[in-house]
Structure formats: C-alpha cells, structure tokens
Symmetry: C2
Subunit: 213 residues, 2 copies
C-alpha cells in the first residue's frame, strides 16, 4: 500500500459519483464543462494568472492532462473561457436593451445591465477588463461591446434625444466613466457606495446630454 502522493485528486466533485466518460461522439461536452469550471474559478480568483490548469481539473474531477485534449495550453483555455463569457454578456446586455421602448431607456438599460453583471461577477469583470492578459493577448472580441454602446448613443442622437455630436467620443466618455465607477466598486467593495443607478443617470445626463426620468 502506497499512500504517498495521491496523483492529483481530492476533488470537490459533489460526488453523486464516478463521472463516467462521455459517449462516443460527445467529447466536446467535457470541453464545455472545462470552460464552465474555469469561469467559476476565474470569478473567484479575479486574476487570470492565478488560475491553474490543475485546479480546473480538480474542480470537475478529471485528470489534469485531460485538459490538453481540448486546449493547447493554459492560455488557450483562459482565452476560450473569456470568449464565451464575453459572448454571454453581450447577449444579456442586448436582451436588456430590447426590453426598453425608447433609445434613452435602451442606452440606460444597457449600461445598468453591465453594471449589475459586474457586481454579480466581479471576478470575471476584473479578469476581462483588468487582468494582465490584456497585455499578452489582443482579445479583439471585446471590441464588439464598445461598438454596440456607441451605436446606442448614436441612436439617441439620431432621435434628437441627445445633442448631435461625435457619438464615438461621447460613447468613450460614457464608457470610461461607467467603467471607472464599476471598477472602483468592484475593487473596494467595502466602501459605502451610493446607488449605481443614480451615478449612471448623472453620467447619462451630464456626459451624453440625454434626459433621464
């Protein structure tokens, strides 16, 4: 009996038990499960560099090496996870926007949806927008969020609800302000923050020039 160095397990798999292997054509299912686990851990760690392949594997109860079946290396896994995360976020924000009637309410809906998401997934927000992965990798997919916000601003201008101007520049100011607010709240959650809605409304009225409420 050799009790020394249990290979890698100790897994927190709830253990209804014995994750059987996937059926023949369904190898991709593990891939999704790995990404999901990576996102859970990234949200907890709030730092891409702190995420270890082995921790992801432990979390879902597989061997660390099984990750390499689906991802070339650690960075590829993180990238894939963030891409899915971003895709889901953009979808949610677009849905939130669609729920409102006029362009102003839609822009406001977008912004608040992002703020709420950041509050609920602060770790992921940090990894996405503040991690050093931004230095090492382009993450071009993030561009689409900015573009959609600019488009929403443009629609306010086109409807005469905001003073006509450079929608690109206005959108940049708005995004900067909102990101700053969200970032500060996420990074120092213990300070006594006023309601995000009020602050966003001030940004919308003062920076975009749009009438709110």
């Amino acid at each position: 009996m050799d009790m020394s160095s249990p290979p890698d397990h100790g897994a927190p798999r709830g253990n209804g038990g014995a994750r059987g292997r996937n059926p023949r054509g369904q190898g991709e299912r593990l891939r999704e499960e790995i990404i999901t686990a990576a996102l859970v851990l990234l949200d907890e760690l709030a730092d891409d560099q702190a995420l270890s392949l082995r921790a992801v594997a432990r979390h879902i109860g597989i061997a660390a090496t099984s990750v390499y079946i689906h991802f070339a290396d650690r960075d590829a896994l993180v990238l894939a996870a963030l891409e899915r995360c971003h895709h889901d976020l953009v979808r949610d924000i677009d849905q939130a926007e669609a729920a409102s009637p006029d362009p102003v309410a839609r822009l406001r809906g977008r912004t608040l949806c992002l703020g709420r998401w950041a509050h609920e997934h602060s770790g992921l927000y940090k990894v996405m927008h503040e991690s050093t992965l931004n230095r090492r990798n382009a993450m071009a997919f993030k561009q689409s969020l900015a573009e959609r916000t600019t488009a929403a601003v443009q629609r306010c201008m086109d409807a005469g609800l905001a003073p006509a101007g450079d929608a690109e520049a206005v959108s940049l100011d708005l995004r900067a302000a909102v990101h700053g607010s969200v970032s500060m709240r996420v990074n120092q959650p213990d300070l006594p923050w006023p309601p995000l809605e009020d602050q966003v409304d001030r940004f919308l009225t003062k920076l975009v020039g749009v009438p709110v409420s």
Copy 2:
C-alpha cells in the same frame, strides 16, 4: 566541484560588483533597497500575486532569506512597497497642484498629474488600484488621495468657480470617470486613445461644472 543547483543566483545585478554588507547601524538601508526593487518588479509585472520574494532578492543580488530580516512575509513586503509608492504619488500630486494659481487649475493639475503618473507607471497603477490585494487587505492609506481630491473640488465650489453642491458626490463622479479613462488606457494601451487632457477637461466641465481654458 558541484555545479548542480546554483543556490538561487544568476542575479542581474549590474555588477559594479560585490555588494558588501551594510555597516553596523545601517541595516535599514537594505530594507529600502528591497522596497525599491519590489516596486520596479511590480511595475513590470502589474500584478501583486506574480511578485515573488525570490525575484526581488535576485534583482538586488541578495539571498532570498535576507528579505525576512526586514519583512515578516511576502505580503508585508508588498504592502510596504505600495505604501511608499502611494506616499510618493500623493507628494507629487500635491506639488503639481501647488504649481497652479486658481482652484480650477489646481484641480486640473492634480488630475492630469495622476493621469501622467498612471501612464508612466501603469504596472504600479494597476497593482495599487486593480490588484486582488485590495480584496485581501484594507490599504486604508489610499483614502488620503480621494480626500484630497474632494477638498480640491470643494475649493472650486467655495470660490464660486463650480456650482455649489455635494463636493463628495461630485468628487466621486470625477474620480470614477478619470479612473475609468486611465484604467482603460492602461489596460488596452494599443487602442487609438485621444489625448487625456481633452477628456479630463470634458469631465471637469461636464461633471464638476468648472470653466476650463
């Protein structure tokens, strides 16, 4: 001759050479040198978790264990480094403020000084304001920067240069917007950013209500 496992060295000490030990009463000198090296590395790494004690020691050509003479553990070193960093930054910003005549120019001077500092020490800015160390540690000393900005806003109001109002709230909006702008520039330096000055001026006029230029 045993060439295997050279203890920890390989040090990039420029090597004018042979760092002699400090004289009797001057043990504190190494402490300062350690902090300086930590700040250099933190600025490069832009992530407090990525900073290793051993890397700091290597950087100045001392044994890793010597760090423990001056700091209880790795976290204590990082904390001390950030405290010095913050202290120096506050000093620089106060100096920049003092160079301007009226309250508006002073507030603007403060803000731009911070922006320039963040641009030149983007790694440190990230560690200070975005690293996960914020979660694990209070870093109460950071409060003073916010307080001084609020005071500068209050002076604008007192001088009748900004519409009277809740200086605290206005300051928060301004800081959020500026932090957001700086943070985005730091995290995605490759995007085509417009001049920071222009954006700051828009924030000052639109959010604080102060006349600029």
